[in-house]
């Protein structure tokens, strides 16, 4: 994409600012989720997306509202980036009736039917079939919808992923397999579990594979745009590997991490490769925003998130009688 004086970052200025805002909202959401956990206000655990915001935002900003995504156990970022409402998300995290899934799903199963999020999934790699089937359905129904299937590099160990990539390639299905390589399968570095080159896996299926800096939202967006365009035009699937890092633990309770990664490594990523700081600096350099404007974006996000938390804390739990609802349609 040509960089001109009117679009100094190579993308539409509005889009660049929106992506900044979305990343900031996700960061604030996750910080609040962490606080809810630490304050013992949230049942169970949750997996924070902090550090990976550029992947969800860059990818979802390449999609239309009627396009689909499938998500993972680390799914709040995907959900927000696809357009979900903060109040209903927090309500779901707290198991409240106003939540997206009426409190039956929780953090690991949030789905947002209205915005095409077919659901987070607590089975590693488990949504690859759903994503590919939604793509097949789009093709059969004659729409030009595209599906982005988010998964962590841990899912590269799951056979299902390769089964569905094979079919997507055979039948030219409009699906983007977006592998977020945050480098750790829980508490084990991926190099200990993953043979060969990650991106090279696509070549065996004849699927175009592309690696992208997952801390650069502009790069992710452009890369996924290409992949989405290919899918929409009938060109079939794409495999994208976004290299990224989770700044926090595997889940909110994973606080002592020294046995699997160093503080230095974490500090390096946080200091030098924070996707929000990075885009912020570029926006300021290009005179698209002042530091004050960025600060006010952050303040607005914090207010929105705080209001969402209040909403969820005040919301009632579902009636106990709802336990047997919706087992069957």
């Amino acid at each position: 994409m040509a960089t001109t004086a009117s679009t100094p970052l190579g993308v539409d200025n509005e889009l660049a600012l929106r992506m900044y805002r979305q990343m900031v909202r996700i960061r604030a959401f996750e910080e609040a989720a962490n606080e809810l956990y630490r304050g013992a206000k949230m049942p169970g655990l949750t997996h924070l997306y902090i550090g990976q915001e550029a992947v969800a935002v860059g990818a979802c900003e390449a999609l239309r509202r009627d396009d689909f995504i499938t998500s993972t156990h680390r799914g709040h970022g995907h959900c927000l980036a696809k357009g979900a409402d903060v109040n209903r998300m927090f309500a779901e995290l707290l198991g409240k009736g106003a939540g997206y899934c009426r409190g039956k799903g929780g953090s690991m199963h949030i789905a947002d039917f209205e915005n095409g999020n077919l659901g987070a999934n607590a089975i590693v790699g488990g949504s690859a079939g759903i994503a590919t089937g939604a793509a097949q359905s789009a093709k059969m129904r004659g729409t030009d919808q595209v599906v982005v299937c988010f998964f962590g590099e841990g899912a590269l160990g799951q056979g299902l992923v390769y089964e569905v990539m094979n079919m997507a390639a055979l039948w030219k299905l409009p699906v983007v397999y977006l592998c977020e390589n945050n480098q750790y399968n829980e508490y084990t570095h991926y190099s200990e579990t993953t043979a060969g080159e990650v991106v090279a896996r696509a070549a065996g299926f004849g699927i175009p594979g592309e690696e992208v800096d997952g801390q650069d939202v502009l790069a992710v967006n452009q890369c996924v745009r290409r992949a989405v365009a290919r899918g929409r035009e009938g060109g079939g699937p794409t495999f994208v590997v976004a290299n990224t890092y989770r700044f926090h633990g595997h889940h909110v309770g994973d606080v002592d991490r020294a046995y699997y990664r160093t503080k230095d490594e974490e500090e390096d990523w946080k200091t030098n490769r924070d996707p929000i700081t990075r885009l912020g600096a570029r926006l300021v350099d290009a005179a698209l925003a002042s530091p004050e404007q960025l600060e006010s974006v952050a303040n607005e996000a914090r207010e929105e998130i705080a209001a969402g938390v209040r909403f969820a804390l005040d919301a009632p739990f579902p009636a106990a009688s709802e336990v047997t609802d919706d087992v069957y349609a």
């Binding site: 077919l118 089975i123 089964e163």
Partner: protein, 336 residues
């Protein structure tokens, strides 16, 4: 009556179970453009059992899709398609291969409606087999329907006759939930009358009395219905009148239908081809034991597959499944 009626009463045709399933699929493919079939060798081959012969010729390879040998993959694809507006029928060639699709079935399809608070639906049909005595040995002979019936969110159908096979298949396809329908692979050539009705849809959850009787109830599923009828004939020779009740679906289960028959006869044998321990027969027996307790004159008896892997040698395999003779002995023991 020694077997189910194979003469065609008026308004019916006698066809095989295989033809009945074929008709059900063809009618639903014709009726609803969102219905499609995906599976291994379903198109030109029409499945290894030839159940789908002719379908790809009428509906084309976009709706009768030959897939790679990827059972989890095709089940996952079908779920994604079902969640976004389609009504897939997944063909799993042998029921033994259900083990491969368990994550997609149990963790994904069965739960998506509930986990989403009722926002998604998964109108997905999985068609597969059960049944031993085909000399297919341990990995192609199991009857694993109890595994599926154990999981809330899934429905389970076990047709015994061509008419039931047709009516239940059509109902499964039209149902908004994942339904797993098991056909006994030994019964594809079994004939029976099927109503001349191109809209034969049987409600799921309604048991069928396959033979009326007074002295003892034999509750039988799938091909065990024929075993039960054989036993009923033998019992009749001893002057014992046996009622044969076929639940037809395990989920939903027509508990009242089973209990009613048990209350009438006071004695019950449950016959199911799954392994007896922790199998479907246990749930059926417990339902009846609790529901008809005051009317029962004897403990509910069960007959299932022996708790061994299904062996190859015919001499061995034949010992593993209930027979007319063994069910007759069991029932007679209750009435004496």
């Amino acid at each position: 009556m020694s077997t189910l009626e194979t003469q065609a009463p008026s308004g019916t045709r006698v066809i095989t179970q295989s033809q009945a399933v074929n008709e059900a699929l063809a009618e639903e493919l014709r009726r609803d453009s969102t219905v499609y079939i995906i599976g291994e060798d379903v198109a030109e081959a029409g499945t290894p059992f030839k159940v789908m012969s002719g379908l790809v010729e009428e509906f084309g390879p976009e709706r009768v899709i030959d897939s790679p040998i990827s059972e989890p993959g095709i089940t996952g694809l079908a779920l994604g398609a079902a969640m976004t507006g389609m009504r897939p029928v997944v063909d799993i060639m042998f029921g033994d291969f259900l083990t491969l699709i368990m994550d997609q079935l149990v963790n994904q399809a069965a739960k998506i409606r509930y986990m989403s608070g009722g926002h998604f639906k998964a109108p997905l049909t999985v068609r597969t087999t059960l049944g031993a005595t085909r000399r297919s040995a341990a990995q192609h002979s199991q009857s694993l329907h109890a595994w599926v019936a154990h999981v809330p969110g899934l429905k389970v159908a076990l047709p015994a006759t061509p008419a039931d096979a047709k009516g239940l298949m059509k109902a499964a396809i039209r149902d908004d939930n994942p339904v797993v329908i098991f056909e006994d692979k030994m019964n594809f050539a079994t004939k029976g009358p099927v109503p001349d009705d191109d809209d034969l849809v049987l409600p799921l959850g309604v048991a069928d009395v396959k033979r009326e009787g007074e002295d003892v109830t034999i509750v039988a599923t799938s091909s065990m219905v024929y075993v039960a009828l054989e036993a009923a004939d033998l019992l009749a020779g001893d002057g014992i009148s046996a009622e044969v009740v076929d639940p037809r679906t395990l989920v939903p289960l027509d508990r009242d239908g089973l209990i009613r028959s048990a209350q009438k006869t006071g004695r019950v044998v449950v016959v199911d081809e799954g392994h007896q321990s922790y199998g479907a027969s246990a749930e059926l027996a417990a339902t009846i034991a609790a529901g008809a307790f005051w009317e029962l004159d004897a403990p509910v008896q069960r007959a299932g597959a022996l708790d061994v892997p299904i062996p190859f040698s015919p001499v061995l395999e034949d010992q593993t499944v209930p027979t007319g003779e063994s069910v007759y002995e069991l029932a007679k023991g209750l009435v004496r």
